[in-house]
């Protein structure tokens, strides 16, 4: 996968400082478990995302480890306290250390 996969982010905007917000992220990825076989009986090699991290100015807000049992196109919903405005970094790392990133601006009022 050379092309950046499609990533969708949902970050609420204009929330009062200190408010707990819900952040939703989704990435297009096959999450091939490595346990399946193709129509001709050949093993389909494992191809999964291993790690996800959401951070703001280097500080980790939420992180998750992925395993072969996770379905394709993983969707994650998590909560964070909106302390200050700034850029949120979302980063997925696959089993071969390939990284995909997307950013979103968080606006706290």
């Amino acid at each position: 996968m050379n092309k950046q996969p499609t990533i969708r982010l949902a970050v609420p905007q204009g929330v009062p400082a200190g408010e707990v917000i819900e952040v939703k992220v989704m990435i297009q990825h096959p999450m091939e478990s490595g346990y399946r076989r193709g129509a001709l009986g050949q093993r389909i090699p494992r191809d999964i995302i291993k790690f996800f991290r959401c951070s703001q100015e280097g500080e980790t807000i939420f992180a998750a480890e992925f395993h072969p049992g996770v379905a394709a196109n993983p969707l994650m919903t998590f909560h964070m306290r909106a302390e200050r405005s700034g850029t949120l970094d979302f980063e997925w790392t696959d089993q071969n250390d390939l990284r995909w990133r997307k950013q979103a601006e968080l606006l706290v009022i």
């Binding site: 499609t6 196109n73 969707l75």
Partner: protein, 258 residues
């Protein structure tokens, strides 16, 4: 002589079976029911959630591709922002220029070759799925308006007879499950009417988005028949028949199916 009469009778009865299905005026399902109604509440919720619905990954990719200038202009430079509203309700449609029946995928490819001087995208490629789901999404909630003009009639009749033709080792016609037995259980699943209004749709079984033709291939392997090629004449005719049969239902693409 007796044998000849027997053969004659057999041929005649075969002809009756074939002709009996010739262009009925009313769709065989009086009240079309969307596949949505056969889903679990969880799957319905997934389809209804504009963020969690994984089909929107392809819609988002299609929105980008729509604006991408590939040398001879982008889709957007002719069609404008969100210029595809309602378009998907009119396909498959007989194309005067090409003198053939085109479905949405075919129309997109015709547009690419005629106006963008680009090669056609392969059926079921990620690029084509992105564009077709992006276009179809703009007709979400709108009713299909497909009509069958005289030029499209041969396709329609072929599609209809395909629907009623028993096939495969299990010797089943689409009609037997999706007209006569919908609502009954087929092992763990409830049989739907086989309506096409959610496609391109995200299927749990595929773990990806796919076209109606891919779904038809799955149906055929299910009855152990030889599937037709994606975009083939047989499937185009069947698609026209299915869409005509679904009149009254609104488009749901990107739908989520099991």
């Amino acid at each position: 002589m007796g044998l000849l009469i027997l053969i004659g009778l057999w041929l005649a009865s075969a002809a009756i079976v074939a002709q009996g299905n010739d262009a009925p005026v009313i769709p065989p399902v009086e009240q079309p029911v969307s596949g949505y109604r056969f889903l679990t509440p969880e799957t319905r919720a997934l389809q209804d959630d504009a963020f969690a619905n994984p089909g929107y990954l392809w819609v988002a990719a299609g929105a980008e591709a729509y604006q991408e200038n590939l040398g001879t202009g982008s889709c957007k430079s002719c069609h404008g922002e969100r210029g595809m509203v309602g378009v998907a309700t009119r396909y498959p449609r007989f194309d005067e220029g090409a003198q053939t029946l085109l479905n949405l995928e075919g129309r997109i490819n015709a547009c690419r070759s005629e106006h963008q001087e680009l090669p056609a995208l392969a059926y079921e490629s990620q690029e084509l799925l992105a564009l077709s789901s992006y276009v179809a999404e703009q007709s979400r909630g709108m009713m299909t308006q497909v009509s069958v003009p005289a030029e499209a009639a041969p396709w329609f009749r072929a599609g209809e007879s395909y629907f009623f033709q028993r096939r495969g080792q299990l010797n089943l016609a689409c009609h037997q499950c999706h007209d006569q037995s919908w609502g009954k259980m087929l092992r763990g699943d409830r049989l739907s009417q086989g309506q096409p209004n959610a496609f391109p749709a995200y299927r749990m079984e595929w773990q990806t988005l796919g076209s109606l033709h891919r779904r038809l291939q799955n149906c055929e392997t299910g009855v152990r028949a030889e599937p037709q090629a994606l975009g083939s004449r047989a499937y185009l005719g069947l698609e026209l028949y299915l869409v005509w049969r679904s009149q009254g239902l609104v488009l749901e693409s990107p739908g989520v199916r099991r």
